[in-house]
């Protein structure tokens, strides 16, 4: 399966298992979604469980909170993460706080799916990576898969989770892993081991990172598309790096990070999102607090620049192989 098929399969499996799951969003019903993630679901489960919505993100999330109050488990889709902002009040002030403010009387077991990330010439409003806006919110979980197998297992776990989960899907790798070499043909998922996805139910626990490659020289912390950039660069450079795919940003797998940093003493954090107050800043701070005496070099951050995501200058913006290579060279020499 590619990542879209894996996500579709997760939704299918869960809708079959739990009649309280509803899927809603712009174009998700009859049409099956602009990325086809919800294809066939309406035909299979009916219009009262899979339906199109008006174009109002705050409405989609607000209505989902009310459905949770009734006892459903909505899986709303926001067509692009860039368009999640109108729903911020409902997400931050309502979904995230509901359990806390009602002392558990009401909860919001919803999973907000949204394609995110750049590398597709999406320009300013089809490329953003706003994960730090959500990791900053107490009460929200943030999950970002990097391959089809994880996407299905993590999405199932997110849907089953009783807390609101923001599930960002890196759309650059919907059809195949992307290592940042935009001038080379794209490899389809079919040639990747993680494309072997069981048809049935399985879950990958939230809050657990994956060690993509074990190594001794340096720890690379990454998630989403950047996992594949890191894998590609490490192979090209022949560096003995340990690559950790965080998979869940909140709650974070701090144990996996600490174990790796204690072993390597060097850390490069990679994300597409802009640098200032990005999630990399939180990672760097945590490592500084917890692993200071094992660090042998300053923590490097390879991130998007602090600018809106540009269109024509995409490959100067995207934190690709050139920049990661130089960051690794720098930290290994330090």
């Amino acid at each position: 399966m590619n990542m879209i098929q894996a996500i579709n399969s997760a939704l299918d499996v869960m809708m079959a298992r739990d009649p309280d799951i509803v899927v809603m969003g712009e174009d998700v019903g009859f049409f099956g979604g602009v990325f086809k993630a919800t294809e066939h679901l309406q035909a299979r489960y009916g219009k009262t469980r899979v339906f199109d919505t008006p174009i109002t993100e705050l409405g989609i999330i607000g209505v989902s909170v009310g459905m949770c109050a009734y006892g459903l488990r909505p899986v709303p889709e926001i067509q692009f993460a860039d368009y999640i902002y109108p729903a911020l009040d409902q997400l931050v002030s309502e979904a995230a706080r509901l359990r806390y403010r009602s002392a558990g009387e009401f909860t919001a077991p919803m999973t907000i799916r949204s394609p995110f990330g750049g590398g597709i010439f999406g320009g300013q409003t089809h490329s953003q990576s706003p994960e730090a806006m959500f990791t900053h919110v107490a009460g929200l979980k943030t999950v970002i898969p990097s391959n089809p197998y994880d996407a299905k297992g993590l999405l199932i776990a997110a849907i089953e989770d009783n807390d609101p989960v923001v599930f960002f899907e890196p759309k650059r790798i919907y059809n195949g892993p992307f290592d940042g070499h935009y001038d080379r043909p794209v490899t389809p998922w079919a040639k990747h081991p993680a494309a072997v996805v069981p048809e049935d139910y399985y879950r990958i626990p939230l809050g657990k990172a994956a060690v993509v490659r074990e190594g001794e020289a340096v720890t690379i912390l990454c998630y989403g598309t950047m996992v594949h950039v890191a894998v590609g660069v490490v192979a090209e450079m022949g560096v003995d790096a340990e690559i950790i795919d965080l998979r869940t940003l909140v709650p974070l797998d701090i144990a996996a990070i600490e174990a790796s940093v204690r072993k390597t003493g060097r850390v490069v954090v990679v994300h597409e999102a802009t640098k200032t107050s990005g999630f990399g800043a939180e990672l760097a701070a945590l490592i500084q607090e917890r692993c200071f005496y094992t660090l042998e070099a300053p923590i490097e951050r390879v991130t998007g620049w602090d600018t809106p995501y540009p269109h024509s200058l995409e490959w100067a913006y995207f934190p690709g192989p050139v920049r990661l290579t130089q960051a690794l060279e720098k930290i290994l020499e330090a």
């Binding site: 509803v22 009262t48 469980r49 919505t53 008006p54 109002t56 705050l58 409405g59 607000g62 209505v63 989902s64 909170v65 009310g66 459905m67 949770c68 109050a69 009734y70 006892g71 459903l72 909505p74 109108p86 009040d89 409902q90 002030s93 309502e94 706080r97 509901l98 359990r99 806390y100 403010r101 009602s102 002392a103 558990g104 009387e105 009401f106 909860t107 107490a138 009460g139 979980k141 989770d161 009783n162 807390d163 809050g207 909140v250 709650p251 974070l252 701090i254």
Partner: protein, 426 residues
């Protein structure tokens, strides 16, 4: 900018920006002579499945049942049994007594904040009487009457206001942000109008499941300006959700009069027309009209005939909150001369007019509800008041319920707080 204004099309009159201004400011004499109440009983009562198309006039008139003599007249008279009317009257009086007592408690420093609903008691209590107990209410912060009408414990409510040991919300919420799932009373949020699309979502869920429960939401006229109001109306209309969307038009959003929410140009009930929804505009100080309109909308929703937007026209008789001083922005005469009167006085007049009540019983009831509130207050205060400070809830509870299970970082922070306080000797 100056150049642009002088440079082009100088033969046109300059544009002017209209900034609304209320009719009366502090010290002004108030005259409601041009206020058209319409006669009680004059507005027709459509069939519950009437098309919104034939209901346009209902958005611009005022459904009223009680006339100036306290008689119930016209097609909207819900013909309630006298016992039910008296019970409703008692709950309205209880709400006012509860408000008065807790307002004073705030002034005495027993808690940080309070909000009264004086003058608006009918809009929550009569509505709650017309709904089924298991219909879910999504209130704003001024519908405490719903909880009282549903028989919720005064002590429980007061404990929330005091953030004391008995507060089920563990001191996490500001006073009056109640949550009572068992009473069909959704957790109140400080963020205005967020409950509106949530109510629609609850109603959609109920419909999708083939249930028979409906939802009702309340917001003030000021909050109708929020985007949530528009999203909620759109969803309610699109999916014909079994929901009642109540707008309590009490004329004031803190210091800004209803003109800043659009009232100079239209009614709030008229918003329904644009969404293709049934809309009713109702005398909010007429408990029978409130009951009848809510009953109509509830029957409509239960018959799968769609949502209703109801504007309850009323007046916020007191300050916005204990943090507000209304004498700074409006005339004190407004409340006294309000042409729709006081909801409790009007219902009282009615039950006396039908021979079900008298002044003696009313005086006794007033005393009884004050006693009931005072007794509850003693019981609640025995569990502490806000001024008792940090002794109310174990500190660690602050970190609970953020998530279903406490993640490592919150466990660490909880431990850190414990260690810091221990070291500081507090």
């Amino acid at each position: 900018m100056t150049d642009m204004a002088e440079g082009v099309r100088r033969n046109l009159p300059p544009l002017t920006l209209h900034v609304p201004e209320p009719k009366f400011r502090p010290g002004d004499a108030v005259d409601y002579a041009d206020f058209d109440r319409g006669a009680a009983g004059a507005v027709s009562r459509p069939a519950i499945d009437a098309s919104p198309d034939v209901m346009r006039d209902h958005a611009y008139s005022l459904v009223r049942v009680l006339d100036d003599d306290g008689k119930a007249v016209g097609p909207w008279d819900p013909r309630l049994e006298p016992e039910r009317l008296v019970a409703m009257l008692r709950h309205m009086a209880l709400t006012r007594a509860y408000d008065d007592r807790l307002y004073r408690a705030q002034r005495q420093g027993k808690t940080s904040f309070y909000m009264k609903c004086t003058g608006e008691e009918a809009t929550s209590i009569a509505a709650a009487y017309a709904l089924d107990r298991d219909d879910m209410c999504f209130p704003s912060y001024r519908q405490q009457g719903i909880l009282l009408a549903r028989g919720w414990s005064l002590v429980d409510m007061m404990c929330q206001v005091y953030s004391n040991r008995g507060d089920r919300l563990k001191g996490r919420q500001m006073p009056i942000m109640y949550s009572a799932r068992e009473a069909g009373f959704f957790s109140i949020s400080g963020n205005l109008a967020t409950q509106y699309p949530q109510a629609v979502g609850f109603a959609m869920a109920s419909a999708a499941k083939g249930d028979t429960r409906i939802a009702a939401a309340w917001c003030g006229e000021g909050s109708t300006a929020e985007g949530d109001f528009h999203s909620a109306c759109t969803f309610a209309s699109v999916y014909r959700a079994p929901v009642i969307l109540n707008v309590i038009n009490n004329q004031w959003a803190i210091s800004s009069f209803s003109g800043f929410a659009g009232a100079e140009n239209t009614t709030f009930a008229a918003r329904a027309i644009g969404y293709g929804m049934a809309g009713l505009r109702v005398d909010g100080n007429d408990a029978l009209a409130v009951y009848a309109a809510t009953e109509w909308a509830a029957e409509r929703a239960r018959a799968n005939a769609g949502p209703t937007l109801i504007e309850f026209f009323t007046y916020r008789a007191e300050g916005h909150s204990t943090s507000d001083d209304p004498t700074k922005y409006r005339s004190a005469e407004e409340n006294v001369k309000w042409p729709l009167g006081d909801p409790i006085a009007r219902l009282k007049e009615h039950v006396i007019a039908i021979g079900a009540w008298d002044e003696e019983r009313h005086a006794a009831m007033d005393k009884a509800v004050i006693d009931e509130v005072r007794t509850a207050q003693k019981e609640a205060e025995a569990m502490g008041i806000l001024a008792d400070g940090l002794l109310q809830h174990p500190f660690a509870t602050m970190f609970e319920d953020v998530f279903e299970e406490m993640p490592w970082h919150l466990k660490e922070q909880s431990q850190q707080m414990h260690d810091e306080r221990k070291k500081a000797g507090i």
